[in-house]
Symmetry: C2
Subunit: 316 residues, 2 copies
């Protein structure tokens, strides 16, 4: 990729520039240009190809805010996702909280124009999602369903999140007043039978758009992991857990660990896989491995992240 490939004769360059201007700036069709200039339309097409190739025309995409469209597209292609939004976080803001805020803002933007009134919006939990909810200023008046029980601090758990988001849009909220992980399968089934809980869980299969965070187990960067009993946590780490999405645990190679499944009050792997638009939200280098694992598990149609994570991901 040289900066100035072949010099190109001055006359040819003038011709190419003229054609390029007429096509890209004036919006004439190639046939029009061809007729007007006494060339064949094939010649015009070849001149345009050449202009692009030789850098006579340059396309400049004014990326709003800190959206990094180039890196986004690289990562998108690399993993075949439907959409990737990489937010550039300047070095001076590169703290865990700063990253969460930036990614949260990006996620809010994506979500607010992804969701329409007929959607059923599923919401996970996590600090980045909390940041998102603070940045969310508008969202369609749709059903908002909590996809997993409570974990983490009071201000940041799913319940609060669902409340905030449904408040912004004015749609109905379906909260889950239960813990994310309970003691045993029996308790789980029993809780699932409760009226309010059942109402939310019945909607799981109808979720059309979901926003979930990705938690990392290795390196540890997950509130859910931190809330499990030490011995259980260690046992799971021993099995090679890399990431979590809601209560679904995923190993480095992308396989799903069934361990918590029966005891989790959350959308399981099958439900997640069936969601038409699953937005993964995670930023920071520490979560790169986790995101990689989740994508390898075939989860996620859209990824919202920051440039540090994206840079790691692109080469994975």
């Amino acid at each position: 990729m040289r900066a100035v490939p072949p010099p190109l004769s001055p006359g040819a360059a003038i011709l190419a520039a003229t054609v390029a201007r007429r096509f890209y700036i004036d919006g004439s069709t190639k046939s029009e240009i061809a007729d007007g200039m006494g060339l064949s339309r094939f010649k015009v097409a070849r001149l345009l190809e050449q202009s692009v190739r030789e850098g006579i025309v340059k396309f400049e995409i004014a990326t709003p805010d800190s959206f990094n469209s180039e890196l986004s597209e690289i990562v998108r292609k690399r993993f075949g996702l439907r959409r990737v939004v990489v937010i550039d976080v300047p070095d001076e803001e590169r703290t865990p909280a700063g990253i969460r805020q930036a990614v949260g803002r990006g996620a809010a933007a994506v979500l607010s124009d992804l969701v329409s009134e007929t959607d059923v919006l599923g919401i996970g939990w996590g600090r980045t999602l909390s940041a998102m909810s603070l940045e969310l200023t508008e969202i369609a008046r749709c059903l908002v369903v909590q996809m997993g029980g409570m974990v983490g601090s009071v201000a940041e758990n799913s319940l609060e999140l669902v409340r905030k988001i449904s408040e912004v849009g004015g749609g109905q909220a379906y909260p889950l007043f239960v813990p994310l992980v309970v003691q045993d399968a029996l308790t789980a089934r029993s809780l699932a039978g409760q009226p309010g809980v059942a109402a939310a869980m019945k909607l799981f299969d109808s979720i059309t758009v979901a926003a979930v965070a990705v938690g990392s187990w290795d390196p540890p960067d997950s509130q859910m992991m931190a809330s499990l009993p030490v011995e259980e946590r260690e046992a799971l780490v021993g099995k090679g857990v890399a990431a979590e999405v809601l209560a679904t645990l995923i190993k480095h190679d992308g396989t799903v660990l069934p361990d918590l499944q029966d005891r989790a009050m959350a959308t399981g792997i099958d439900v997640l896989r069936g969601i038409p638009e699953l937005v993964l939200i995670a930023g920071g280098e520490s979560k790169a491995e986790a995101v990689h694992a989740v994508i390898n598990a075939g989860l996620g149609t859209t990824l919202v992240t920051d440039n540090s994570l994206a840079e790691l991901l692109r080469t994975m």
Copy 2:
């Protein structure tokens, strides 16, 4: 035309930027993008239109040297010409000689890639054409025909021009060893019968590409005008002559004055009109009126000029 039209929602802007990147930079088709992103191809098309309209994508045409593609296109459209090449001349070079050199270089570039071996190249005369011949480094090996007899200084008359140009390309030259304007029609006819002269003039109808300068009579900027007897010159000026192309005189309104026709050893108006590619070459503010008149007369398919003349012309 505001710089930043409507703010556009952040999510929509991200979407638009993503689509624009994929289309313009990656070269995907709209259908591919639509499929990949779960949109209709119409939606993608509208996003792209919007991106262009709102300035999310910008096209930058790297115009070689001092070619002003924007002004060129404006003038081209204004007069419906096939091609216009405006050369930007920086203020510090804006002397008559500086303009001639710049325009000459532009004309050389245009000509050398306009002309192919099968063409018959007609050459007028004038100081700008002389400048062109000095800048000409390559041209197809084609027949080079002198379109008008001699006038002006020895170094700059048609004869010398034709010699130089045919020398560069190696094609055969058809010079005209006669004055441009003779005393009377009888002399003209007699000269036209001479072997060498007849050979060149027989080719007039075969000329496929011609490069001619435009001379101005009002204000006076023409070597041919200067070479006529004072009383004749004044009589013609009195008739409203504005411009000359070879020995064809044209009034401000674009009508052709037949006065010199019978006595001129040069391509007449009918021949000029029949030339498939007639390149008009002229620079400098003083020639703006003249060029305007010539174009109004329906002469010229291509114009090579400088920015000062073009700026005047665009509003005429």
